[in-house]
Symmetry: C2
Subunit: 422 residues, 2 copies
C-alpha cells in the first residue's frame, strides 16, 4: 500500500516537473534546440561502450526470460544502431522548426488581423515496446517541436533506455535546457504507466506504439487524449484496367520489401476480369520470394496449390511473409471489403481507369490512399514530412504519419487597434 502510494507520488512529481519545463521549453530558440540535438548525438557516440554494456544486461535478462528471437533482435543495440540514433538526431536539426510558424493570417472587415500560430502541444507521453532506439528518436522529435516528453519503453529494455535518457539529459543541461524536458518513467511496469495515464492536468497527449493489447490497455485507462499508432491491414486492389506488369511490381514491393512493418500489404484484391491473367504471374513472383499464399475460393480455382483463406485471415496483420488473396467483382466489392476488414491505415489501387482512380482516392478513408504506388510509401519521410514519430490510425488531430508539425497545435493570434465587439 505504502509502496503504491510512493509510486503514485513519484510519477506525479515527474509529470509536474515536465509540465513546468514545458513552459520554458516552448520559448527556446531553434538554434539552442539544434545545439542540444547535436550534443545529444555526440553524447550517444561517445558513450557507445557504456550503452552496449547496459544493453548487454537487458539482453542477458531477456535470454533468461526466454524472449523470442525477433524480440531479442529488436532489443539489441549495435555500434551501427548507435550511429543510426546519432545520425537521426543530427537529421532533425536540418528540419524546419514548426514552433512560432504562422500558418495563415487574414484581415477581418473590422480591421482585425487574425492568424494561427503553431505552438508545442506541451507534455507528451510516448509508450512503446522493445526497440531502445525509439528512446532517442522520439526524444529528438519532441525536443525540436518544443514538447517535453515522458518515455515509457518496455521493461525488457529498461537498462538501455535509462542509459540513453541519461546521456540525452546531460546534453540538455550542457545546452542550458532543463533536464526535465526528457524523462523516463521510473518503473517500467504497468502500475506506473497506469498512474501516468491519470495525470490529465500535467500530460497533454499520450502516443502508444505497439501491439493490440498494449494499445487497448492505454485507451481503456487513459484520461489523457490518446493518438493510437495501431495495426495496418493494408490492401492493394488490382483493377480490370491495371497495367499488370506495374501491378506485379507494386504488389511484390508492398509485400516483400519489408514484411514486418505496418504499411506492408496483407491482402490482395484482384478484379475477376484480370484474375486469370494476373494471379499465376504474381503467385510465381511471391512464391519465389518465400511468401505463403492463402486464397478465397475463386482464387483457389485459378491457383490450385494455394491454401484457404478463412474469415480470420481477412482481419489479420501478418507482419510476415504471408498474403491473403481475394477475387472481387469490381471496385464496389473491393471498397466494401476494405471497409469491413481494413484498419484505416493504407490502401492502394492499381488501375489505368481515370474515374476508378479518382473514386478510390475520394471514397476510401484510410490515413493514406494511393493510386499506382506501393503501400510502403505511407511513411513520414517518404511522403515528405521529413521524419515521423509514427503513423496515427486515430482520426483526431493527426491521421497518418506524424511529423514535427503534427506534434504542434495552433492558437489564434489577433492584432487589433482598439476594436470592441458590437
Amino acid at each position: 500500500m505504502k509502496e503504491s502510494k510512493d509510486l503514485k507520488t513519484e510519477v506525479w512529481k515527474m509529470a509536474r516537473k515536465a509540465k513546468e519545463a514545458s513552459c520554458l521549453l516552448a520559448r527556446f530558440s531553434t538554434d539552442t534546440k539544434n545545439a542540444a540535438l547535436r550534443e545529444m548525438a555526440e553524447g550517444l557516440e561517445r558513450a557507445r561502450d557504456l550503452l552496449i554494456e547496459e544493453n548487454g544486461k537487458d539482453l542477458a535478462a531477456g535470454e533468461k526470460a526466454g524472449l523470442s528471437l525477433p524480440m531479442m533482435d529488436r532489443l539489441r543495440l549495435t555500434p551501427a544502431l548507435i550511429r543510426g540514433m546519432a545520425d537521426g538526431l543530427r537529421e532533425v536539426t536540418h528540419l524546419p522548426d514548426p514552433v512560432g510558424e504562422v500558418v495563415k493570417m487574414w484581415r477581418r472587415p473590422n480591421g482585425l488581423m487574425v492568424g494561427r500560430m503553431r505552438i508545442p502541444i506541451g507534455v507528451i507521453g510516448i509508450i512503446y515496446e522493445s526497440r531502445p532506439n525509439v528512446t532517442a528518436d522520439a526524444a529528438g522529435l519532441c525536443l525540436k517541436s518544443g514538447n517535453c516528453v515522458i518515455l515509457r519503453g518496455g521493461s525488457e529494455a529498461a537498462h538501455s533506455n535509462h542509459a540513453i535518457a541519461q546521456i540525452l539529459q546531460n546534453a540538455l543541461v550542457e545546452t542550458g535546457i532543463p533536464a526535465d524536458a526528457i524523462q523516463v518513467l521510473p518503473h517500467p511496469g504497468r502500475e506506473a504507466m497506469r498512474e501516468m495515464l491519470q495525470l490529465e492536468d500535467s500530460i497533454d497527449l499520450v502516443i502508444p506504439r505497439g501491439g493490440e493489447e498494449l494499445i487497448r490497455f492505454v485507451t481503456t485507462h487513459s484520461k489523457i487524449p490518446v493518438i493510437k499508432h495501431y495495426k495496418g491491414i493494408c490492401h492493394i486492389f488490382v483493377d480490370e484496367d491495371a497495367d499488370l506488369e506495374m501491378a506485379a511490381r507494386i504488389c511484390l514491393n508492398a509485400k516483400v520489401q519489408r514484411p514486418g512493418v505496418c504499411n506492408a500489404m496483407e491482402t490482395l484484391l484482384v478484379h475477376e476480369k484480370v484474375a486469370e491473367r494476373f494471379l499465376p504471374r504474381i503467385a510465381e513472383l511471391l512464391t519465389e520470394a518465400g511468401v505463403e499464399l492463402r486464397g478465397c475460393d475463386r482464387t483457389r480455382r485459378i491457383l490450385s496449390h494455394v491454401g484457404e483463406a478463412t474469415e480470420k485471415d481477412w482481419s489479420e496483420e501478418y507482419l510476415d511473409l504471408i498474403l491473403s488473396i481475394r477475387v472481387v467483382d469490381g471496385i464496389e466489392e473491393a471498397m466494401s471489403h476494405i471497409e469491413s476488414y481494413g484498419s484505416l491505415h493504407t490502401e492502394a489501387i492499381v488501375t489505368s481507369d481515370y474515374s476508378n482512380a479518382q473514386r478510390f482516392l475520394r471514397e476510401v478513408n484510410s490515413s493514406c490512399v494511393l493510386v499506382n504506388a506501393s503501400t510502403r510509401f505511407n511513411d513520414g519521410f517518404e511522403l515528405g514530412l521529413g521524419s515521423e514519430i509514427g503513423i496515427s490510425t486515430s482520426k483526431l488531430h493527426a491521421f497518418g504519419p506524424m511529423g514535427l508539425e503534427e506534434l504542434t497545435t495552433t492558437k489564434f493570434i489577433v492584432y487589433g487597434e482598439g476594436q470592441i465587439r458590437n
Copy 2:
C-alpha cells in the same frame, strides 16, 4: 438488470446505425447537403406551434422541478428563437463545404504527387445542457461537414430536443439522406450517456459543452476522444504604455457587453505604473454598468471602496457582472498570473509597446491571444471561421473556435505512376 441491458443494446444499435450512415454521408454532394439544410430550416418554421407546445411541456416540468430563472430562460423557445435556428441553418448553406478540399499538394523527388484531403471525422457525439437551439445548430454544422451526429441534450429539454430532431430527420429523408445521420440519444439520463461513451468503435469524437461537473463526467467515463469546451477565465493586461482611453473601452466591452459567456473578461491585470491613473477611471465606468469589483491589496489602496479579491477569485469564472482586479509589476508578473490561474481560453494585452505586444502573443499559450482588442472576439464568426460548434480548450485537434474545417480531418492521397520503394 434487464432494463439496463436493454438500454445498452438500444444505445449500441443507435451508434451502429450512425456509423453505417456516416460512410454514405461522406459521399453526398454539397448541393444535396445544402438542400437538406434549407428543408430543415423550413421544417422548423412550419412546425413553430408544435415546437412551442412541446417546449411548454419542458417548461412546465422545469417550473415544477424548481429550475432557476436563468435556466428557465435558457430552456424557453420563442418564435424569434425558432426563426433564429432556421436562419442559422440557412447561413450554413452559404459556408464553403470543407469535405474533399485538398489543403496542400506537393511533388516528391521520385515523382509521387502527395496531398492532404479533408474528410469528415465520422460520427460525433455532442453533449450539452439546457438550450434546445443547440440541437439544430450542432446538427447543421455536422451535416454540412459530412459527419453523423448523436445529440445528447439536457433531460430538462427532452421534449423540445426530440421534437426538433424529428423535424430535422424528416428533412433528411425528404432530401434522400439517411435519417440516422442525425439522432438524439433516446434517454436523457446519465446512464445512456455512460453507455454511449464506451462505444469507441462507432463514435469518433465526443464534444461536451457545459459546466465543470458535466465535462469531468465525460472525460472520466469516455473511451472515445474528447474535445472539451471548457470554462473561460479570461484576462486583460493593461500595460504601462497602454492608450488608457482604448484600454477603458476594451475592458468595458470585454466585461459588460455579454457577461454570461466564456470569452468575457473575468480578471483585469494592471501595470503598477498606470494603476493610479487607470483604475479610478475604469472603476467608475464599470460601476456605472453595474459591475461588482474585487481587488488585490494594491488595487484597494487606490480604490478604497472595492471589496477584497481572495485566492479563490483568481480562478473563478463568474459569468456575471463581477470582476477581479490585480495590480502587477509588469508583463512578467501578468503572464505568470495567467499561467497560474488562466484556463487557456482567451487573454488580451493593451499596449503601445512593440516588443511587449509581440512577446505576449508569442508566450501566452491560450486558444486566442489578442493585442489591443476585446476578448469577446474569440468566437468562430468574429474570427472569420463562418460559424462554430463551440470553443475548444483542449489542445489536440482544435484549439479555440471549431468551425466546419475543425469538424474534418485530413487523409494523405498519393498519385503515382508505378513507384515502388527501394
